[in-house]
């Protein structure tokens, strides 16, 4: 079984650790990224409206989704904080049970604001977003999702201070849950 490679998400942090110059460069890059994110906020809202009007969002690769949702922020490994239960082999991609439980706080100074479920190889990788409040008590959720093919599923927790924790799990899918035969 393939072990998900999280290290490529970390390269920016590693570069920053190397030298002071590297750190300054990374900082400048991050600030530029934040500025770019601000500029992009309007198309983001447009995309949300596209969802609510019933039209699917355009197809995109997972990197584009992550950029759209999180900008250039780096991800931290969340394996010890977030527990994700997914089958290793899913026979029916149309309904794959996923349950997420995390020990991250939902109230207080730094709390979980949202959990995202993202599937790398779906044509529209963003599957669901769950936003919590202190009244939730705990950041946990369970649902069933559609997977197009064997893929990595990412669960990303966004904290109120902008920190992102990610967990990646591979799932093998026998029958696709997304593809309908083409219509004439």
């Amino acid at each position: 079984m393939r072990i998900p490679d999280i290290s490529r998400w970390m390269w920016r942090a590693d570069a920053a650790a190397m030298s002071r110059r590297g750190f300054v460069r990374a900082l400048v890059a991050m600030l530029a990224g934040a500025a770019a994110l601000k500029d992009l906020s309007v198309p983001g809202e447009g995309a949300a409206q596209a969802t609510s009007s019933g039209m699917p969002q355009p197809d995109e690769l997972v990197d584009a989704t992550l950029k759209r949702l999180f900008g250039n922020r780096t991800f931290q490994r969340g394996d010890d904080k977030i527990k994700v239960e997914l089958p290793q082999i899913a026979e029916d991609g149309g309904s794959v049970a996923i349950s997420v439980d995390s020990s991250l706080p939902v109230g207080g100074a730094v709390a979980v604001s949202s959990l995202y479920i993202i599937s790398d190889k779906n044509r529209r990788p963003m599957l669901a977003k769950f936003s919590f409040t202190p009244e939730s008590g705990r950041a946990l959720v369970a649902t069933s999702i559609r997977l197009a093919t064997s893929t990595d599923v990412r669960v990303i927790a966004e904290m109120s201070d902008g920190t992102l924790y990610a967990v990646v799990k591979p799932v093998r899918v026998t029958i696709s849950g997304c593809d309908l035969p083409p219509q004439s």
């Binding site: 599937s119 044509r123 529209r124 963003m126 649902t143």
Partner: protein
């Protein structure tokens, strides 16, 4: 599907004050997926799926969820709720046909 929009809520059998309970909900909905023509282009139309779920407890919104077509047919969602006082739990779903489906449950301590 005549029963589209039927919402059911399941609560734990025994709830104590201050507990964080897991509430299971199920809504009957087709969650229509994208159809493509032979050129693999998306057929433009109003796809019928649920895009939001909101949870309110005693009238206060406690959770908001954005769903997409990547969620299975007849979505079942389990979510947490911290119960400090008894009250009314409302779960409502909004779909792309502009309809909202709602169900309520009474939470009492035992």
């Amino acid at each position: 599907m005549a029963e589209v929009g039927r919402v059911s809520i399941r609560l734990p059998s025994s709830i104590k004050q201050g507990d964080v309970i897991r509430v299971r909900t199920l809504v009957m909905h087709p969650m229509e997926i994208v159809q493509r023509d032979k050129a693999n282009k998306i057929i433009p139309k109003n796809y019928h799926f649920i895009h939001t779920m909101t949870v309110a407890y005693n009238g206060k919104e406690v959770m908001r969820t954005e769903l997409t077509q990547g969620v299975s047919q007849n979505p079942s969602i389990t979510f947490p709720l911290k119960v400090d006082k008894p009250g009314k739990l409302t779960v409502s779903y909004g779909d792309t046909n502009g309809k909202t489906f709602e169900a309520t449950a009474e939470i009492k301590f035992s």
